[in-house]
Symmetry: C2
Subunit: 198 residues, 2 copies
C-alpha cells in the first residue's frame, strides 16, 4: 500500500469511527477533518464529499474481505479446513478494520443506489464463495434453498460479531474463529463432553 | 390488543416500512401520515414526533420478542427443546413484524441515548434468557466468556435473518427454525448423511 493510500485509509478509518459514535448523517466533513487533524481544504484533496468517504469505506472493506479469497480456498483440499479458513479470514478482517465493518452494517443504506449496488455485488461474490465451500463440504448434494440458509447461518454468526465482539477482550480472534467453526460444523454436545473432560 | 392500540401499531408498521425503504432520517412525519392515510393532525394525536415513532417501534418489537419468554421456557423440561422453542419464537416474531425488526437492526442508533438505553436493557434481558437456556443445555459447566460466544452465535443466526429472509419464500418459518436449530446443536455432516439417504 502506497503512503498516499495509507493516508486515505487512515482518514476513512477516522471517519468510520465518528460514524460509529454519532451516525453518518450527523457527522460533517468538518468533524472528520478535525478528528483526522487535517485542514478542511486538505480533506477535499482526498475526498470530494462525505458520501465519497462512506463509499470508500464500504468498498475498501469488501475488497479486504474478498482479497485472494478464491486462491486461499483453492490451496486447501479438505472442505472442512476451507470453512475454517474462511471463518478465520472473516474474523481477522473484522478485527483489523472494526470501524469499517461497523459502517458496513449500520450505514450502507445511506449510499446512493448506484454505489450501493456495487457494494451489494461485492457482498454477493463473497456469499457465493462461502456457499461454494459449504456446498463442497456437503458433497454438492444440498438443494439451493437449503444451501442458502446454511450459508446465511454461517455468515450471520460471522457478521454478528460486528455488534458485540472486542478483539482486545479475553477471547482472541483465533479462539472465536474456532468456536464459530465448531458451532457450524460440530454437534453442540461436543462442548459439553469437553467440559466434562476438563 | 385494543382497537386504538392496533391503530398505533398499524401506523408504526407503516412508518417502519418507510424507514426500511428510504431511511429514518430521510422520512418525514408527512410521509408517514400520507402512507398511513391519515391527516398530519391525526398523526400527532398518536405520536408527538418521529423519534416517538421509532422508540415505539423498537420498544414494541422487543416486547413481542420478550413476551412470556420465561414462562414458555419453564414449561419445557428438555434443554434442547427449550433452544428449539426460542429459535422458533424468534423466527416467528420476525416473520410477523418484519419491518419493526429491520428498524431495530438499522435505525436504533438514531434514538436519543436515554431511550436507546431502555431498548438495550430489553435486549440484555433477551440475551440473558438465551444464555440461560444454552447454559442449561451444556450442563451449566461452560465458562462465562465461552457461553457469551455460543449465545451470540445463536443470536447472530437468528438476527441475521432480518437482512435476507423472506417468510413468504420457499423456506417457511418452521423449516428455517429447524435448520438454525440443527446448525447450532448438530454436526453439519448430519445434513450430508440426510442427503445421501434421500
Amino acid at each position: 500500500m502506497s503512503k498516499s493510500d495509507k493516508k486515505v485509509l487512515t482518514i476513512a478509518t477516522t471517519a468510520a469511527k465518528l460514524f460509529s459514535a454519532k451516525g453518518y448523517i450527523e457527522t460533517s466533513m468538518e468533524d472528520v477533518a478535525a478528528a483526522a487533524k487535517i485542514s478542511k481544504g486538505g480533506m477535499y484533496h482526498y475526498f470530494g464529499s462525505k458520501c465519497d468517504i462512506l463509499n470508500y469505506i464500504l468498498s475498501t472493506f469488501m475488497d479486504f474481505v474478498l482479497e485472494n479469497v478464491e486462491q486461499d480456498v483453492q490451496q486447501i483440499a479438505d472442505p472442512a479446513e476451507k470453512i475454517r479458513l474462511l471463518i478465520l479470514r472473516h474474523v481477522r478482517t473484522y478485527s483489523e478494520h472494526m470501524y469499517l465493518a461497523k459502517a458496513l452494517l449500520h450505514e450502507a443504506h445511506n449510499l446512493p443506489s448506484a454505489k450501493l449496488k456495487k457494494i451489494k455485488s461485492k457482498e454477493k461474490n463473497y456469499f457465493a464463495a462461502l456457499a461454494d465451500v459449504v456446498s463442497s463440504y456437503l458433497g454438492y448434494g444440498v438443494d439451493k434453498d437449503r444451501l442458502t440458509v446454511l450459508t446465511f447461518n454461517l455468515l450471520g454468526m460471522c457478521n454478528w460479531i460486528y455488534s458485540w465482539y472486542n478483539p482486545q477482550g479475553s477471547i482472541g480472534p483465533e479462539e472465536l474463529s474456532q468456536m464459530i467453526f465448531d458451532t457450524f460444523t460440530r454437534d453442540l454436545s461436543t462442548f459439553r463432553r469437553e467440559l466434562q473432560e476438563q
